[in-house]
Amino acid sequence: MAAPRSCALWGSCGRGWSRVMRGCRLPGLRSSWPGSPLGARLLSQEKRATETHFGFETVSEEEKGGKVYQVFESVAKKYDVMNDMMSLGIHRLWKDLLLWRMHPFPGTQLLDVAGGTGDIAFRFLNYIQAQHRRKQKRQLRTQQNLSWEEIAQKYQNEEDSLNGSHVVVCDINKEMLKIGRKKACAQGYKTGLAWVLGDAEELPFDDDKFDVYTIAFGIRNVTHIDRALQEAHRVLKPGGRFLCLEFSQVTNPLVSRLYDLYSFQVIPVMGEVIAKDWKSYQYLVESIRQFPAQEEFKEMIEDAGFQKVTYESLTSGIVAIHSGFKL
């Protein structure tokens, strides 16, 4: 699974030095470095049956889960600060855009997988509440000659503001969930929220349960992405929507160079200075390079059974929102 993907990346990317680096990493390719990509692909497919990538390292599939867990355990406390610093705050816009594309209505059952610190869940609740408030305002404007008591009554119906909307935040990592719950308390989100410890490859939910499934910046850390996609398909109701916000491949060559420079030179340094953790952030930028490009990921989503799969590249392709429906 890993071999064809990385070969495709190697073939399609035009970045000189990162190609050198990637070439040095994969043992199967090293001996056939000057050879054809096809020969290298056959060789590495045989050798790496149960091996996968952890950033630019090669590890066994059993190891990867544990290693990813450790990474997120160690970065959990500084996760939000680092996100703001690394993306210069732009990650907030990306997540807002995901919600706008989702356009949930009151009563939506959302499952946010790998949602650890709750960014998507809180935005979802805010969106629903903002919708409700706008609806209330509209209703009040159309009604006339209301007494002060009746107006106050309308505004006081807090419990109904969500109108049945609910979000389940599921994450494999306890530390990330802890941080998320703390944030929820601190920011005053009391209802409509549930926190579940679970594995994206084996979700602890029944079939056909959710209206929307989101996974923001989480799917590239999953060992078997195809299994996660299949699980997503399983737990969604018919008519349900799959949304994935993830780092993707940059199309513009100039932006790509600057992005690489920034990713590999600046981000691990930031990780060391702010979070005391060089290696986790090195893993982060490498795992981004290992993730398939927009088209390839679209095909993977289609393979899992989703239809009407589309994607939208943001910020020159640094991130992409993939969307699919279970019909």
């Binding site: 030095w17 990493r25 060391e272 200075v273 060089w278 290696k279």
Partner: protein, 252 residues
């Protein structure tokens, strides 16, 4: 501009991230870094160390990224001295696992071993809190800076300085004169920023001149094979190095 970019992007003679294979790493904890990364690390660690003085790891990183030249000078100094050359060859480490605490405790009162253990107890520190070297791109120099870090506690014992901020600054002045490491010089100059006026007074008028004098007079402290000198009385060692008693006694 493009050549500058390419220069910073081009990896060193070791690839930028070879951790997976273990090849290209000069020592177990090594993280190869490009020039740009070193510059950014220097700026970032200096800023963070000033902003949050409890980030000792940032001071250590600053030492590693800026110490290239000074470490080479130190290493050559060590090679010229017989004891220093032995240290470079045998590569002793000071940590709780390598120290035989019972044996050290059995040594006579007033010996280096007993004074060192007392220093560890009173200040509640342990020799195992020294972070391993990561950003030095030469294996021998990585050992030299590791040795310098592990000897730091010995210096506290020799100078009779506690581990509060005043004591640390005094030791930094001594180290700055002795080693010439930019990190020590920066620490010595910028450390006092957070001191109270009274402490600053004492520091400038008495402690710094004393530390500088002793630093100049003493031979290179990295040349001492401390592991072979545990029985030596501390007073005798101080005389050998020409270290006098501190002008004012600082409480821990």
């Amino acid at each position: 501009m493009v050549t500058l970019l390419r220069g910073t992007l081009r990896p060193l003679h070791v690839p930028l991230r070879a951790a997976s294979q273990g090849t290209g790493l000069l020592y177990p904890e090594h993280i190869p870094t490009s020039l740009l990364q070193k510059v950014l690390l220097t700026a970032g660690s200096a800023g963070m160390a000033l902003y949050n003085p409890y980030r000792h790891d940032m001071v250590a990183v600053l030492g590693e990224t800026t110490g290239c030249r000074a470490l080479r000078v130190l290493r050559d100094q060590m090679k010229r001295d017989s004891e220093g050359a032995q240290i470079l060859q045998e590569r002793p480490r000071i940590s709780l696992s390598t120290l035989d605490l019972d044996k050290l405790r059995s040594l006579p009162e007033g010996s280096l071993a007993r004074e060192y253990l007392r220093f560890l107890d009173v200040n509640r520190v342990s020799p195992d809190t020294r972070a391993p070297t990561r950003f030095v791109d030469d294996e021998e120099l990585a050992y030299v800076i590791q040795r310098y870090r592990e000897v730091h506690d010995m210096l506290h014992t020799l100078l009779g300085m506690p581990t509060n901020i005043l004591g640390e600054i005094v030791v930094k002045w001594f180290e700055a004169v002795q080693t010439g490491l930019p990190m020590c010089i920066l620490g010595a100059l910028f450390g006092p920023i957070r001191l109270s006026a009274q402490h600053l007074q004492v520091l400038v008028s008495e402690l710094v001149p004393w530390a500088v004098q002793n630093g100049r007079r003493a031979p290179c402290v990295l040349n001492l094979y401390y592991e072979r000198r545990w029985e030596q009385p501390l007073k005798a060692l101080r005389e050998e190095l020409g270290i006098t008693d501190p002008p004012t006694h600082i409480k821990a």
